[in-house]
Symmetry: C2
Subunit: 359 residues, 2 copies
Amino acid sequence: MKTSRRVIAHSSTLLTLGGLALLSFAGVAQAQMPASGMLQVPAKTLAAPPDVSPQLQKIIGAPLRTNWDIRPKTGEEWKPVADAGAAALIKNVPGMMERLKVKVEKTTIDGARAFIVTPETIAPANSNRQLIHMHGGCYVLNPGEASLPEALFMAGFGHIKVVSVEYRMPPEAYFPAALDDGITVYKALLKTMPAKNMAFFGTSAGGALVLEMGLKVKKLGSPMPGAIASGTPMSDVTKVGDTFSTNAMVDNVLVSPDGFCDAGAIVYANGHDMKDPLLSPVYGDMHGFPPTILTSGTRDLLLSDTVRVHRKLRQAGVEAALQVYEGMAHAHYIRDDTAPESKEAFEEIAGFFDHHLDK
Amino acid sequence: MKTSRRVIAHSSTLLTLGGLALLSFAGVAQAQMPASGMLQVPAKTLAAPPDVSPQLQKIIGAPLRTNWDIRPKTGEEWKPVADAGAAALIKNVPGMMERLKVKVEKTTIDGARAFIVTPETIAPANSNRQLIHMHGGCYVLNPGEASLPEALFMAGFGHIKVVSVEYRMPPEAYFPAALDDGITVYKALLKTMPAKNMAFFGTSAGGALVLEMGLKVKKLGSPMPGAIASGTPMSDVTKVGDTFSTNAMVDNVLVSPDGFCDAGAIVYANGHDMKDPLLSPVYGDMHGFPPTILTSGTRDLLLSDTVRVHRKLRQAGVEAALQVYEGMAHAHYIRDDTAPESKEAFEEIAGFFDHHLDK
C-alpha cells in the first residue's frame, strides 16, 4: 500500500478556491429563497410503474376511488355508505378464503365481536402464538366480514392463527370504542397465552389502532405484546405530514387529505381532540414499545404518517423495521392475494413476528 | 373469556350480500379501467413540512437547483461545471471539519487518490475498524475536497475512521474507473484489516458505487465487507422507478429524470450498456451481500431506486434496513451538519455498522 499524504488545514486558504456556483450538491440553493418558499409543481400524467407484477400494475393503474370526496358528517350518514362498500367487498371473501386456505369463525370475546381466522396449516413455530388484527376503514368502514381480507392474508401467508376484532364503529359507538374493543380482546387473550407469544397487526385505521393499543397497554401497566405490525397507519389525523401534499391526487385510494377518510376519522373522534395520541399515535411516547414493523408504498398518502412513526420508534430506542413497496398507494398490499407483492409483504411481517415472538 | 361461534362457510351464499359499491377498500376500482390507465395529477403548490427542524425546513423549502436542466455531453463540457460547483462547496468544508471535529489528510493508495478522515475521538469499539467512502455527484461532480462532506459527517457523527476515495471522473476517465478506484482501495485496505471490520458507504452515485463494489467483490471472489450503507443510490440509470415520475419537480435537487444527473451518468457510462449491474446495480444478483442499510426521503426522486434495492436485498435473504426521512429530497441529509436529522441519519448508520462489523 503506497501512500503520499498532505494535511488539509482547517484554514481559510480553501476559501480562495471559491468561485461562481453553477452546480453544487450542498449549501447553495437554500441561500436563494426564504424558508417559507413554496414549490410550484406542474400538472403531470402518471403511468403505473413497469417493474411490479401485472396484478399490482392493475391496482396502481386504476382510476381514483369512486366518491373519494364524499364527506358524511354523522355516523348515521356513514352507515349506508359502509354497508354498500362492505357488500361489494364481501363478495371477494370466499375466494380469498379458498385460495389462502383459511377458515373463519365468528365469535364474541368478553362482549367484543371478533372472527377467529385459522389457516389449514399452522407453522410448527406458531403453534403457541396468535395475532390480534384491527381492520382498516377510516374508523367507519368495513363492518362485519368486510373487515376480514387482511386477517385472511396474514393467517394464510403467515401460517398463524389470527383473532380479528370486529370493533364497534359509528353510529353504534364512537371514540374510544374501537380501541376499547381491541383492548378487551387483548386482555381476554392474555388469560390464554403469554403476552410475548402475541402480536398486534393492522392497516390504515387498523395500523393506527395497533399503535394506540400499544400506548394504552403501556398506560394500563399490562404486559406489551411481543411485536406490532402497523401498515400505513392513520398516525396523524391532524393531517401533518409531507406526503399529504406530495401524494395528493397520486394515491388513488385515499386521494386527498380532505377526502372521505378524513371525514370518517372526524365522525369517529366525535369532538375529541384529534391530536390525542389515542387518535394520532405519532404524538405518543413510544418508549418501551415492542419490536415494530411498518409497511407503506411510494404513492401512499400516508407514507409520511408511516415514516414519522418509524423515526419516533427509532428515537425511542425501539427495534423498528420499515418496508416501502414500489408504486403502492394506500394499503394496496391488501387488495389482491394473488399479487406476489402482497405475499412478500405478509411474509416479511410473518418473518418479523417469528423472529421476535416467544414460542 | 365468553365466546359464541358461527362458522362462515366457503360458500356462495355470501354473494347474496352483494350490492351497489359506493365505497370499498378492495377489488372494485380496478375493474373500471384498463391496466394501461394513466393518472392525471393536477398542478400543486408545496410548502416545506412543519414537523422537521428549521435547518431541514430551509433545505426542503429551497427553490429547484440552479441549472438542473443542463445536459453537458462530454467530460470536457462537464469539467468547468464540476469545478465551479466544487469551488462553492469547498467553502463549507473547513467549518464542517471544525464542527464535526475531524481532520483530513490527502493520500494515494496504490495509485488511487483518497482522503483519510479521522475524528478527534474514535469510539473504543471502532478502534480496529475503518470505512470506505464513495462520494456522490452523478459520476461527474464533486472532485477533490468537494467529495468530502459525507465522509466528514460519517467520521464525526460515527466516531470512526473513513477512507474517502477521490475516484477518477470524466474527462480524466470513464466507466468503470470510479468502481475500479474503489476496488483498488478496498484491496489495499484488506492487507491492513479483516474484511468484516470494514464497511462501504456512499450517497447518490456513491450509493450506487458501494453496491457496484459489492457485486464486483463477489465476482472477484474477494471477501465481502462487514456491511454496506447505500444512501439514495442511483441504482437504475435506465430510469425505471415510480418516483422518477411522482417526485419529478417535487425533489428540488435532482428535479427531473431528464436533468443534469442523467446527463452525468450517460457521460460516465461512455456508451456502455446502462442496464449493466455495474451501472444499474438494482439489476445485480445480491445474494451473499452483507447487511445493508438504505437511506432516502419522501421527496426523493430516487426513493424508488432506494426501495427497489431494499426489496431486492430482502428477496435475496440479506439483512437490510430502510430509513426514509420526512420531507427530504435527494441526499438532503448531507447538506447541513447542524440539522438534527443529519445527525440522526448518520448515527443510525453508525449503529448499524456497530451492530454488524467485527471489532
